[in-house]
């Protein structure tokens, strides 16, 4: 190839980078458009849902993924959730940030009625700070690395919520000696409960509610938008007809390996041959 050709290709790559940037910003614009358009429909839906008894209790107990995040003892309090609403930030710079509001009913002598809003912010972050939930090895040392790849992640703030009385022993505010083995253990249990999630910030990997960001995303991108679908699914006459298949590793046929692992692809293809 001639130098001239090479120069043109070189410029083309730069143009492509600009073009990608343009596409990304259109994606945000589309997201904004959607949020604004959906707002009134969601508001209307919130009002309607309020009239249906136990709506959220049914949705939340129906959803297996949700149950995976919390402790079994939390269900008592999950059932006390009367209402959930999600508000999505629609300013272009804030796209991806949102807040979730929970209305808890009172449980006598245990939990007070309360309305709690937890806010989530999408922030850009370098690769070295990405190691959330990686366990103990707390590599928070500041590395002066170039921003090799900036990535986005959710963070939040500690959010005041009154814990149930029954949780006194694991309520982090009430544990006096957090250094004793007993204290440590209780503290950790508390942090893993649904109430522990309200303290999640995303800034202390390994020390907070596990996968706090995924639970937030589950609520904002799945449970809230599709709550009516989950509600109706829970109402099906035949409880055994749900679409949650058992995990494939138990199927005996040894093809499972090849079929599961294309996690690099953005849009996962779903072909059911069976």
């Amino acid at each position: 190839m001639s130098d001239q050709d090479n120069k043109e290709i070189s410029e083309t790559f730069l143009e492509l980078a600009k073009n990608e940037f343009k596409i990304e910003s259109i994606d945000k614009e589309v997201e904004q458009f959607k949020i604004r358009k959906m707002e009134s429909a969601y508001n209307e839906r919130d009002t309607l849902i309020e009239k249906i008894p136990s709506f959220w209790k049914i949705v939340l107990s129906q959803h297996l993924d949700f149950a995976n995040y919390i402790r079994a003892s939390d269900f008592k309090y999950i059932d006390a959730i009367e209402k959930i609403t999600v508000k999505y930030a629609s300013d272009i710079e804030k796209i991806g940030s949102f807040s979730i509001t929970f209305h808890f009913n009172e449980i006598k002598d245990d939990l007070p009625e309360q309305i709690i809003t937890k806010k989530f912010k999408l922030v850009k972050i370098g690769p070295k700070q990405r190691s959330d939930e990686e366990g103990e090895d707390d590599n928070t040392k500041e590395t002066e690395l170039d921003d090799i790849e900036s990535d986005e992640r959710l963070i939040s703030e500690v959010c005041d919520i009154e814990w149930p009385k029954e949780y006194n022993s694991i309520n982090p505010d009430l544990i006096e000696d957090k250094k004793s083995p007993e204290g440590k253990k209780n503290y950790r249990q508390g942090m893993k409960s649904f109430f522990g999630w309200f303290r999640w910030t995303g800034l202390k990997p390994g020390k907070e509610f596990p996968h706090g960001d995924s639970l937030a995303t589950l609520l904002s991108e799945d449970l809230y938008p599709y709550c009516v679908k989950y509600y109706t699914e829970a109402q099906r006459d035949f409880a055994d007809e749900d679409s949650y298949s058992d995990d494939t590793s138990e199927e005996g046929i040894d093809l499972s390996e090849e079929e599961q692992d294309n996690d690099e692809e953005p849009a996962k293809k779903k072909i059911h041959t069976s």
Binding site: S10, A17, E20, F21, E149, I253, E258
Partner: protein, 447 residues
């Protein structure tokens, strides 16, 4: 020219019959230790290096794949010098001991062979071939567990950490680079490849293990629908494998090597009865993983891919019982796992010892496709394992695809082997003429 693979395997295939074989191997890759370490030991023992290399063999005859086996070879480099606080050598630790662990993942036939061949013999032949490979073959170029990207790196090389925009920037820079600087970059890349390499001084211990459990099919999906495919009962499968392993112990190993058999849920007396037909003298009840009945299973039982033992360990973690389950309980409960056919025998067979044969074979481009990524390895293998074998068409289709793919992408063909094993062979009637039903997808893709 006759390659090693051909030379070794021809003796296990029926005389004068022509076969073709695919030998696929991925580049050796460093992995995490396969036996979980207690947390306290994590740091002291983390100097051990485990290197995994998957092999896949598929045998074809008459333009159809008829047999396949997948085997993972692990080389574990150990540092037994107790100079744990010696950090001087951290960058280049010496390994005074090593071990080769061969895990037989799955083997299968599909029943579409037009001639009679012994799946037992070819299985034996392939394992024998692996025993004959020089362990140093796996140590020349090892993909490290993690690459540490340096700052200077990010402007020159495109890695999995490079953002789209940066990658385009790099490509832009590259395309107007002079040839000279292109060459400089290539050289730099080589030095940054971050391949590890090791050299073994001595002959190393070889271990082998496999888990037998009856199933309709292991590699060839839907092949149990072929009436000509034989499937074995749990006990049948155990005996089938046991006789292979016994032969290998006799032929390839020193006398003081050990054969081990464990049948979860079965009394020792019953297990011992299985040894009767064996020829090797040193068979005992148990396994090669070590540990006492009352020690925790998690610290003895290795984690292999797609292995019921590993799945069970993961399940114990989920049930929060892993720190309470000792080996005795582990084996007892394992047998009751749902994934096994009701009341069928499952077993764990193992070898531990030193090979008595020459180990000088180095797989070469001549008879082995060595892929440079797991992705590519899987992709090629998937031409065979992704097909459906309820009709003969699957065996034909996988063959055509493999042959076309190797020719187009590697400019290679399958290795031909003419059998030399004398035997009175009855040629079977052709199994079945192509039965055309409806179109089947080539690949089963699931979420």
């Amino acid at each position: 020219m006759v390659g090693n693979l051909e030379k070794i395997l021809q003796g296990y295939l029926p005389q004068d019959h022509k076969f073709e074989i695919l030998h696929l191997q991925n580049t050796p890759t460093q992995v995490r230790p396969i036996v979980t370490l207690p947390k306290k030991n994590c740091h002291t023992k983390s100097q051990d290096v485990t290197i995994k290399t998957p092999h896949f063999f598929a045998l074809a005859n008459n333009s159809k794949f008829i047999y396949g086996i997948e085997i993972h070879v692990y080389i574990i480099l150990k540092n037994n010098n107790n100079n744990n606080n010696d950090t001087v050598n951290e960058k280049n630790p010496s390994y005074d001991d090593a071990e080769r662990l061969i895990f037989i993942s799955k083997a299968d036939t599909n029943g579409y062979s037009d001639i009679k061949f012994s799946a037992k013999q070819i299985t034996k032949g392939i394992i024998h071939y692996l025993f004959s490979i020089d362990p140093n073959h796996y140590l020349k170029q090892v993909v490290p567990l993690e690459r540490k990207y340096e700052q200077s790196f990010s402007k020159i090389f495109i890695t999995k950490e490079t953002s789209l925009e940066n990658a385009l920037q790099i490509l832009s820079n590259r395309s107007h680079q002079k040839e000279k600087s292109q060459a400089v970059r290539k050289k730099m890349l080589q030095s940054h490849q971050h391949y590890l390499s090791f050299k073994l001084a001595n002959k190393i211990r070889t271990k082998l293990c496999l888990f037998t459990r009856p199933a309709d099919q292991y590699l060839f999906a839907e092949s149990s629908k072929n009436p000509n495919k034989h499937t074995l009962s749990g006990m049948g499968l155990l005996k089938w494998w046991l006789s292979i392993i016994d032969d290998l112990l006799c032929e390839d190993f020193t006398k003081d090597s050990e054969g081990k058999l464990r049948i979860p849920g079965e009394e020792s007396i019953i297990v011992k009865r299985c040894f009767k037909p064996n020829n090797f003298s040193n068979w005992t009840v148990g396994d090669i993983f070590g540990g006492k009945p009352n020690s925790l299973a998690i610290f003895s039982v290795p984690l292999f891919s797609d292995d019921p033992k590993s799945r069970f360990l993961h399940e114990l973690v989920e049930e929060a019982r892993v720190m309470k389950t000792n080996l005795e309980t582990f084996w007892m409960e394992l047998q009751e796992r749902q994934e096994f056919k009701l009341s069928e025998t499952v077993s764990v067979i193992g070898i531990s010892g030193y090979t008595a044969i020459s180990t000088a074979v180095i797989p070469t481009e001549f008879d082995t496709i060595i892929t440079d990524s797991k992705k590519q390895y899987r992709y090629i293998k998937n031409y065979i394992t992704g097909e459906e074998y309820n009709a003969e068409e699957g065996a034909l289709e996988s063959y055509v695809n493999i042959v076309d793919y190797l020719r187009y992408k590697y400019n290679r063909s399958l290795t031909s082997i003419v059998g030399t094993m004398p035997k009175n062979l009855k040629v079977k009637e052709p199994v079945n003429t192509p039965q055309i039903t409806t179109l089947q997808p080539r690949k089963k893709i699931k979420i």
